[in-house]
């Protein structure tokens, strides 16, 4: 695939697992950037060229929903696609995420195949 991905999760373990799952799914990126919350994610998006964001929802400082809301207000990053990776799978919260621009969602726990199933069609 090439290009750059940003992984947003307050768990460094989960960021590593998501990165490994992408590789296991055969989805390779030139660079994997990481952020521990929405605020850090916005900082990365201001500085780096990012093609896709995979973000948790429940995070300290700025959660995934607030991150989407803030990102949507910034013209330089509002069109970067975001997929949610979260234990939160209710229609209400995923619906809110999609209304704020999220493209899709992956439920934790997940396998590399599940990541590929959601991201694969988008990346083709």
């Amino acid at each position: 695939m090439g290009n750059n991905v940003l992984l947003v999760d307050d768990s460094s373990t989960m960021r590593k697992i998501v990165g490994r799952s992408l590789r296991q799914a055969g989805i390779e990126f030139d660079n994997i950037f990481e952020a521990a919350d929405g605020l850090q994610a916005l900082e990365v998006l201001e500085k780096e060229s990012v093609d896709i964001v995979l973000s948790d929802i429940n995070m300290p400082n700025m959660d995934g929903i607030s991150f989407l809301r803030e990102k949507a207000n910034r013209p330089n990053m509002k069109n970067i696609p975001v997929f949610m990776i979260s234990t939160e799978t209710g229609d209400d919260i995923i619906g809110e995420a999609k209304s704020l621009g999220a493209v899709g969602a992956i439920k934790k726990p997940f396998t590399a195949d599940m990541v590929n199933e959601v991201l694969g069609p988008f990346l083709k």
Partner: protein
């Protein structure tokens, strides 16, 4: 509500999906009476239609084995990676329980997990809460998943 079975389903799903480990499932116990020797505990608050707490209690060997499985590398101390990994286990089990509670028409909100490491600690509080605990086994030892909750009246 069969919360004991819901805990079993939630935990076995997390371990089989994320770690490819088939847990040995113990008998769910309601109230006091089941404990495991623990060196690390990850707790996560529950809100919404209930007030509660989910806790995962692990001896060091189990916690390090789980973390090694997550990271794909040997882990031999109870470091920040271990606290983070057990917190994620608690988070994902709680996420599955949230879905189970939704099936009973009970809306649950999840907080962010906190992990504690120590030789001797007790988790108290929540007078009048219902407590359901399930011991699980894996190659490196036993751990306990404990749920305490009160349904808001």
């Amino acid at each position: 509500m069969d919360i004991g079975q819901d805990i079993v389903n939630a935990a076995t799903d997390v371990f089989s999906t994320m770690l490819m480990i088939d847990l040995v499932v113990g008998e769910p116990v309601e109230g006091a009476g089941v404990e495991v020797t623990s060196n690390i505990c990850s707790m996560l608050g529950l809100g919404g239609d209930i007030r509660g707490m989910l806790a995962v209690h692990c001896p060091a060997a189990v916690a390090m084995a789980i973390t090694s499985g997550f990271l794909g590398m040997d882990v031999d101390t109870l470091n920040e990676d271990v606290k983070d990994a057990i917190g994620e286990i608690a988070n994902m089990i709680a996420g599955n329980l949230k879905i189970a509670f939704a099936g009973y028409g009970v809306k649950v909100e999840l907080a962010i997990p906190t992990s504690v490491v120590g030789e001797s600690y007790r988790v108290g509080g929540m007078l009048g809460a219902r407590r359901v605990a399930v011991p699980f086994g894996m190659e490196s030892g036993q751990f306990l998943v404990e749920l305490k909750y009160i349904v808001n009246g």
